[in-house]
């Protein structure tokens, strides 16, 4: 039973490949159109992924620096620590004593001379606070609240740029979503029409098959395979376009990097993203074919 079933599907699979190859120009054109359509949102997605990995952790976890007053006492520091532990808005914090800060300053280039000449340590004690990821309003509230603590001289919101980047990434994700939706609909429509034409040209075959006992699923199967395989090929084309584009961009970035002495390389689509792309495009093709078959096959009733 299962063997017969597998054989049946294998047979339809090869039949579909044959059909695709039988009309090479049409098939190739549809595949290229689908590939280009899919490569647009994929491309933006890849850029987004790269941008958010460059911006690193800070983009997702907002950070604030708390500078304490200079005349602060040990008990005050303990009190602040306790207060922070109780605050649900604060994920983690790190105390940076002024000696450590000065030491770090002395390490850094150019400033070593200046800091060595200092008689007294002018730096305050500080905390670095990682806040819960949250709305800008809530973060601002937290900043104001901490600013009002008596031991605090100044709260600096480090993540203003990160917040902007986050907003940008959000916008980018929205654009990816929009493009994906619109182009998916376009691909489904293309497939719908391709299958409609195929059904028209195979009218006799469908009618005769029905007359001699073909089930609906038997008649549907080659069209669904066609849709899925063509969709898959479209996805593979998009993948290829992306991979080659990123490789070319990385070469350009490489020469730039030499000139300006920085190191920036774009990441390719991850294996799991690649698999998602391929299965999504296959599914789109299948869906277009399925809708077309559902709305056209019933019209062919043998007489």
């Amino acid at each position: 039973m299962i063997r017969a079933w597998l054989m049946q599907h294998g047979f339809v699979f090869f039949l579909t490949l044959k059909r695709l190859i039988a009309t090479p120009v049409t098939s190739l054109l549809s595949v290229i159109v689908m590939g280009i359509a899919l490569s647009l949102p994929t491309g933006i997605y890849v850029l987004m992924e790269n941008l958010s990995s460059i911006s690193g952790q800070s983009a997702s976890s907002p950070q604030m620096s708390l500078f304490l007053k200079l005349d602060i006492k040990k008990e005050d520091i303990e009190r602040i620590k306790q207060r922070m532990e109780e605050d649900s808005q604060i994920v983690s914090f790190q105390f940076i004593p002024k000696d450590a800060a000065l030491h770090q300053l002395q390490q850094s280039n150019g400033l070593a001379d200046i800091s060595a000449s200092l008689v007294r340590n002018p730096l305050p004690d500080a905390f670095i606070v990682h806040a819960l990821e949250n709305t800008p309003e809530n973060l601002e509230q937290l900043r104001v609240a901490m600013q009002s603590w008596p031991e605090i001289e100044h709260v600096q919101f480090d993540s203003a740029w990160a917040a902007r980047l986050n907003a940008l990434l959000k916008l980018g994700r929205f654009i990816v979503l929009m493009l994906t939706t619109l182009l998916s609909v376009a691909i489904i429509v293309i497939m719908f029409n391709t299958i409609r034409l195929q059904i028209l040209t195979k009218r006799d075959e469908i009618e005769i098959s029905k007359l001699i006992g073909a089930t609906d699923s038997f008649i549907r199967r080659p069209f669904l395979y066609f849709g899925a395989i063509q969709g898959l090929a479209g996805g593979a084309t998009a993948w290829l376009i992306m991979t080659l584009t990123i490789r070319a961009m990385n070469e350009e970035l490489g020469t730039l990097a030499q000139l300006y002495d920085f190191d920036l390389q774009l990441q390719q689509l991850s294996p799991s993203d690649s698999i998602s792309l391929l299965s999504f495009s296959a599914w789109l093709g299948w869906l277009g074919a399925r809708l077309s078959v559902a709305s056209h096959l019933w019209q062919i009733e043998p007489r």
Partner: protein, 217 residues
């Protein structure tokens, strides 16, 4: 066994093609259905394969009521029947072999045995040498025999032929009739519709005659 009870068929345009038909065909029987063109022969045969549905009455085939058959069950009914259509319904984009192969592909036959079955069916109708030919290159008689091969390749228990000797000359027609007789001899129930009275002269089988949608006694 095929049983018609009070079967009527009115087409959507209002024309009554069959009017209150009562009829029993035993399994293993061979029956002729005659009548002028337009008498309702094709309609009656189509009802058996659920190609048309009756307006009223019941049609029972081996205990199953065809008149009430769900759409999903129709393909399995048709696989029990070999149908030779009045207008042939051959696929002109594939060769003789592939035309005969179609019923086997449809019913999921094992790939290993299908080629043998197709050739056996082609052999029975004398078309073995033409398996690579396209239907367009066949003569009228050869096309008719191709239809027969396709109808019997899956070894149905009921064989239905609608005007199988249509425009053939008399020798060819007799040739084809003897094929049906030999299928009947191995136990297949055979129903043949024909308006060609010359075929029936020396037939020793039951003859049903239709007149304007009614069975004449």
């Amino acid at each position: 066994m095929i049983i018609f009870k009070n079967v009527s068929k009115r087409y959507p345009d209002g024309y009554v093609a069959l009017n209150n038909i009562d009829l029993t065909v035993e399994s293993g029987e061979m029956v002729f259905l005659t009548g002028h063109s337009g008498a309702g022969k094709s309609t009656l045969l189509k009802l058996i394969a659920a190609i048309e549905r009756p307006t009223s009455g019941t049609i029972t085939i081996s205990g199953q009521n065809i008149a009430q058959l769900k759409l999903g069950a129709i393909p399995y009914l048709r696989r029990k029947i070999g149908f030779i259509f009045q207008d042939h319904k051959l696929l002109f984009d594939r060769n003789v072999f592939d035309n005969v192969l179609l019923p086997l592909q449809i019913s999921n036959f094992d790939n290993k045995t299908v080629a043998g079955r197709v050739r056996a069916a082609l052999d029975k109708v004398g078309l073995l040498k033409k398996e690579k030919a396209m239907p367009i290159a066949l003569s009228g008689g050869e096309r008719q025999r191709l239809c027969i091969a396709r109808a019997v390749v899956h070894r149905p228990s009921i064989l239905i032929a609608d005007e199988p000797t249509g425009n053939l000359d008399i020798e060819y027609a007799q040739d084809i009739m003897s094929m049906f007789t030999s299928f009947n001899q191995v136990g297949v129930t055979v129903l043949i519709a024909t308006h060609d009275a010359s075929l029936l002269k020396d037939a020793e089988h039951r003859i049903l005659s239709l007149k304007q949608g009614k069975l004449a006694v």
